[in-house]
């Protein structure tokens, strides 16, 4: 049998197709001394099928904390003893955050709420917020508001939401160890409705939550089956008071292998650095990931934790000769 990277080169680089689950497992089992070769292939695949541009996004928490769900990685669940308190952001602050995000060159601004799904109060706040942003800022608005009904999907599409985030979070086989208050199938269903309504689908997950290497490959394969426009890849940042609060930080070589494997699973997707990269990879690893399959970043801070300084990330992109994707090209 030929070497996995030789086969991966043919499948992903030459043909633009994703690797299978079994092949992804092989990739994730590559020894540390082959990681540079793996990253080089993933970067070549990204450059050939996506180009050198990087999509930059900012995110904001519209409603923080007090969530009824029990996602074991999340400090915003009301079921844990996390110190995160419930807070709502008003519309003027939301617009200010969108303006600050746009000033970085970002083309995406994602409004996030810690909820099972939106109620009428939240939908009303989102409606007012999107209208105010659209009047003041030239930026695409995305939302992440949990599980949706068909009516809510249609409402968000009518408001002009062009991309909706709803992560699978974990592989189907590991999901019950991560969330017990709703099912993997419910999440999958919302993703399907979003795409059917014409919004772009943003769907990714977290790694480093105690899953096996095979379950990491399974998540990548299941995301590839879903075929989202964008895949945000988060690395667990163990939060105090959560069930995963005492897990170790993911090994950086494992994190880089995972980035490359996700790129080889989905050669044409927008693969975004999301939460936890500062802790897992640091400055040098951030650079390695951008040269290993990543072609999008969340700039600045996250929902409850802080990110790298936005100016440092933008300087890194300049250094790597990776231009920021312009707004017109995202529409």
């Amino acid at each position: 049998m030929t070497d996995i990277l030789e086969r991966a080169r043919t499948t992903t680089l030459d043909h633009g197709q994703g690797l299978s689950y079994d092949e992804l497992v092989e990739v994730l089992r590559l020894p540390d001394d082959r990681v540079p070769e793996l990253l080089e292939l993933a970067h070549a695949v990204r450059m050939k099928h996506c180009g050198p541009e990087v999509e930059v996004e900012g995110i904001i928490s519209l409603k923080t904390g007090g969530c009824p769900e029990d996602c074991h990685f999340c400090s915003q669940s009301g079921q844990f003893t996390s110190p995160v308190r419930s807070v709502w952001l008003d519309v003027p602050q939301l617009v200010k955050a969108a303006q600050e995000t746009a000033a970085t060159g970002a083309t995406e601004f994602c409004i996030v709420a810690a909820v099972r799904g939106p109620d009428e109060r939240l939908m009303s706040q989102v409606r007012d917020g999107i209208r105010a942003i659209q009047e003041a800022v030239d930026i695409n608005v995305a939302c992440s508001l949990g599980m949706l009904t068909q009516e809510q999907v249609d409402d968000l599409a009518a408001m002009g939401v062009h991309r909706y985030n709803h992560n699978l979070e974990a592989a189907r086989s590991y999901f019950p160890s991560v969330v017990t208050t709703h099912s993997y199938e419910e999440r999958w269903g919302t993703c399907q409705m979003v795409r059917a309504a014409g919004m772009e689908l943003c769907c990714g997950g977290l790694v480093g939550m105690g899953e096996t290497l095979e379950q990491r490959a399974e998540l990548a394969a299941q995301l590839a089956e879903l075929d989202p426009h964008e895949v945000p890849l988060n690395f667990l940042n163990p939060r105090p008071g959560t069930p995963f609060g005492d897990l170790p930080v993911m090994d950086s070589a494992d994190a880089l292998r995972t980035i490359a494997a996700f790129r080889l699973a989905m050669p044409r997707t927008i693969l975004r650095y999301a939460g936890g990269r500062e802790l897992t990879l640091g400055d040098l690893g951030t650079r390695d990931g951008l040269l290993g399959g990543i072609n999008a970043v969340i700039v600045g801070n996250y929902l409850t934790t802080l990110g790298r300084d936005a100016d440092e990330d933008l300087a890194l992109l300049t250094d790597l000769k990776m231009p920021i994707r312009e707004l017109a090209k995202t529409l």
Partner: protein, 60 residues
């Protein structure tokens, strides 16, 4: 002078909170260092604010 750790909320006393101090480079404080109340924290793409009902608002 701070009485409580802004990250874990425990009394500072004489014991070091080096791990908490390191983490506070990556997250805003959650507890008021004067009274230990949990603060209302809002993180934005380029900053954060943390409000204690008794001791006011910190920003970063």
């Amino acid at each position: 002078m701070d009485t409580f750790c802004g990250r874990c909320g425990e009394p500072l006393g004489d014991s070091p909170h080096a791990a908490c101090d390191a983490q506070l480079a990556l997250e805003p404080p959650r507890f008021c260092t004067a009274c230990r109340r949990r603060m209302k924290v809002q993180v934005t793409p380029r900053g954060w604010s943390a409000e204690c009902v008794e001791h006011g608002t910190l920003t970063g």
